[in-house]
């Protein structure tokens, strides 16, 4: 669950930024001749609703309905009635209703608006129970996948989002800054302070994970399963600040022979700039293929739909759907003369 700071600050996320986002979405809905749009949200898939409204549920689930015609959006959530007022205080857009059956309420709103063609974000993944209830409550409606229409609007990256991303990146950096491989005894002792720094700085969520022995594996594990630390390890902080997600990973070593190479790789990651146009793969390989470095794999993620971050390009991915000019998270594995090194960073 989300248990860090949840608060709306109009200076960080101005109401007019949200109004612009909604207007862009409505423009897309009109172009597709859709009468309305419904997005599902929970802690795993809350990014789209958070982008539109500034809020994602800390627990449970909800539906966010935007009528193309311009009525106030409606957020119906199965969270309990007692938190409705609190939600209203941290969610600047939309009329909040708590109900055990969010789809019933949204279906009634759609029927009231005489909606027929309703766009659903990520229709394939939309919960079947909610879809069924929408169809029953608003007879005659057609559910149409509106993922592309949303993505078109979502391509707009405003100053508020860039600032939130940069702040989140600073919190993630702070969590990793205090790690000293020479004075660490266990993965668990590393992950605790990493989480603490992030949350004390106001992170809404922090998933701190560790690849505890880079000589064995590149998999990031949680505190409950991470085994003994090797001489070289990597820590990754996936962090949300005001529902805006970044990842930051750093590799650490207590092997003096490797330490210089690790520092060079970290410097190379810090210096990486995305190309203004074109594909990422050649740019990444050119940047990191020097000084004894070799790219083993890489992955780029950007926010696109319901998930906080979506894979948009990668070394094992044929089609780049990366949006040039928009911030992204680069997760990369290098070979430094045969030694594994992992890193991740927001490329803003």
């Amino acid at each position: 669950m989300r248990r860090g700071l949840m608060q709306w600050n109009p200076e960080e996320l101005p109401r007019n930024a949200l109004d612009t986002r909604l207007a862009l979405l409505r423009e897309g809905l009109r172009a597709e001749k859709l009468d309305g749009f419904v997005a599902y949200t929970n802690i795993a898939r809350g990014a789209a609703v958070a982008w539109l409204s500034g809020f994602q549920p800390y627990w449970n689930e909800g539906l966010f309905y935007v009528a193309t015609g311009g009525d106030t959006p409606v957020f119906a959530t199965a969270l309990s009635k007692r938190v409705a007022e609190w939600i209203g205080s941290v969610m600047p857009v939309g009329e909040v209703t708590t109900t055990p059956k969010p789809a019933l309420l949204i279906g009634q709103k759609i029927a009231h608006n005489s909606g027929k063609r309703i766009g659903i974000l990520e229709l394939d993944d939309f919960p079947a129970g909610h879809a069924q209830l929408l169809l029953e409550t608003a007879p005659g409606i057609e559910l149409i996948d509106a993922t592309a229409a949303f993505a078109k609007a979502r391509a707009h990256v405003d100053e508020a989002e860039r600032n939130l991303l940069n702040h989140a990146a600073r919190l993630a950096d702070a969590g990793l800054a205090g790690i000293d491989p020479a004075h660490t005894t266990s993965a668990q002792d590393l992950l605790g302070p990493c989480d603490e720094q992030a949350r004390k700085g106001g992170a809404e969520e922090c998933f701190a994970t560790i690849a505890p022995d880079l000589s064995l594996s590149a998999s990031y594990l949680r505190t409950d399963t991470a085994g003994p630390l090797g001489r070289s390890f990597a820590v990754r902080s996936s962090l949300a600040y005001k529902a805006t997600w970044v990842r930051r990973a750093r590799s650490f070593t207590s092997d003096p022979a490797l330490a210089v190479r690790y520092a060079q790789a970290e410097a190379a990651l810090a210096a990486f700039k995305a190309p203004e146009t074109g594909r990422l793969d050649p740019a990444i390989r050119a940047h990191f293929s020097s000084k004894g470095m070799e790219v083993r794999s890489w992955l780029a993620e950007q926010p696109r739909g319901g998930y906080p971050l979506t894979r948009v390009a990668g070394s094992n991915q044929g089609d780049d759907v990366w949006q040039a000019g928009a911030p992204f998270v680069l997760d990369i594995e290098l070979s430094l003369g045969g030694a594994r090194w992992l890193g991740a960073k927001l490329i803003a």
Binding site: M1, R2, R3, G4, L5, M6, Q7, N42, I43, A44, R45, Y58, W59, N60, E61, K81, R82, V83, E85, W86, S89, V90, L123, D124, D125, F126, P127, A128, G129, A131, Q188, D189, L191, G192, P193, C194, D195, E196, R199, K200, G202, E204, C206, F207, A208, T209, S217, S219, Y220, L221, R222, T223, D224, T225, S238, L299, Y307, P308, R311, D331
Partner: protein
């Protein structure tokens, strides 16, 4: 190697599938509802979504739509085949189409992806809730061990919380200290909400930046997760000395919680436990405050999900069974002092209960350090 608890769960699940004549059980999950997936695969999903296909012969395929999660699952889960698929639905439909004309059940049914059931050709998938729901509610002895360990960490966590609470601190800083403690103890997940203030506070929520001040009540429920199993504790503390109204309120909640706990035994219904709690409030003229206007539940089950059936409410007539792990918490708004919480976790036994929480049942006071 799979854990002994997971082995025991797989055996129980196989027996339940056989009894229901289910050939393939489709289990869906994500970081919110991770319980069904965890039961069958022992994987604690953190990002993305997953679908497990559990076959009657015990072979299981876990499909994950996040590549890093699939890598983690390969490291952590040795009993099932792990498949990374950017389109969960497409991959699951593809695998299910190979199962032929077999009986397929799925849970949690209402959360299943729409595309899994409705595509070019609709799949015939039945609601498989009855195959797994009772297994989730009533724990095996080996599962109870994990719940006990989680309860011990809840106690330790509350001691950290009390120590962290002092005037001038922000609510999210308290949460940060708890989370730090849990991470260092190998706890990856925790359900936690908090309330800070007085009469104006109607419930708990995530922290919103409130600064603790003298006279505030600070309510919280901590729910650490150990090996996938949650256990909860609810307590209220006062910043400074408690006033008379707060002390009197506490006495009511203590009496209600103890009445609820005393009523717990196998065969007793959730409704009877709720009534035992609520009758205490009614006795003191606080009957209005046990309605849905002011409170959600009077306790609930816990296990691989922190808030599972049975909900302790006067209209829930599910009989308690030996092995259910529940919390009894008469948490609600009090008109004189605000939202107030008190709750202990326990295991239902044939003739009573086994108490899991060891933190004293008192209204704690904290002062400046």
């Amino acid at each position: 190697m799979t854990s002994p608890a997971h082995q025991a769960r797989l055996k129980a699940l196989a027996e339940s599938m056989k009894a229901d004549e289910t050939d393939v059980l489709v289990l869906f999950g994500n970081n919110w509802h991770a319980d069904h997936l965890r039961y069958a695969t022992d994987f604690g999903i953190q990002e993305g979504q997953g679908i497990a296909l559990v076959r009657a012969d015990g072979s299981t395929t876990l499909i994950l739509d996040d590549a890093a999660e699939a890598d983690r699952a390969r490291d952590e889960t040795k009993t099932c085949e792990i498949v990374y698929a950017p389109s969960l639905v497409k991959e699951a439909r593809n695998l299910l189409s190979r199962e032929g004309n077999r009986k397929i059940g799925a849970a949690p049914f209402h959360l299943l992806p729409y595309g899994l059931l409705h595509g070019e050709k609709d799949l015939r998938v039945a609601d498989g809730t009855n195959v797994i729901e009772r297994l989730l509610m009533t724990k095996l002895e080996i599962e109870m061990d994990a719940v006990r360990r989680a309860a011990k960490l809840a106690d330790e966590g509350y001691a950290i919380f009390r120590d962290a609470a002092r005037p001038g601190r922000k609510d999210y800083e308290l949460v940060a200290e708890i989370e730090t403690f849990f991470r260092t103890k190998g706890v990856a997940e925790n359900f936690m909400i908090i309330g800070v203030g007085g009469q104006e506070v109607r419930g708990m929520a995530p922290p919103s930046g409130k600064v603790l001040k003298q006279g505030d009540m600070v309510t919280t429920e901590l729910t650490p997760c150990v090996d996938g199993y949650y256990s909860q504790i609810c307590r209220t503390l006062v910043v400074g000395e408690a006033n008379e109204a707060q002390k009197q309120a506490f006495a009511v909640y203590l009496e209600a919680m103890e009445a609820g706990i005393a009523s717990v035994a196998a065969g007793v219904t959730a409704a009877q436990v709720a009534k035992a709690e609520n009758d205490v409030f009614r006795k003191y003229g606080l009957g209005d405050y046990v309605t849905s206007e002011y409170t959600r539940v009077r306790g609930h089950g816990m296990g691989l999900f922190p808030d599972q059936k049975p909900q302790i409410l006067e209209d829930v007539h599910i009989p308690l069974e030996t092995g259910m792990t529940i919390i009894v918490h008469p948490n609600t708004y009090h008109p004189a002092v605000g939202y107030f919480v008190l709750g202990d976790s326990l295991i239902v036994r044939d003739k009573g209960h086994e108490l899991l929480c060891g933190t004293p049942r008192q209204l704690f006071s904290v002062t400046s350090h």
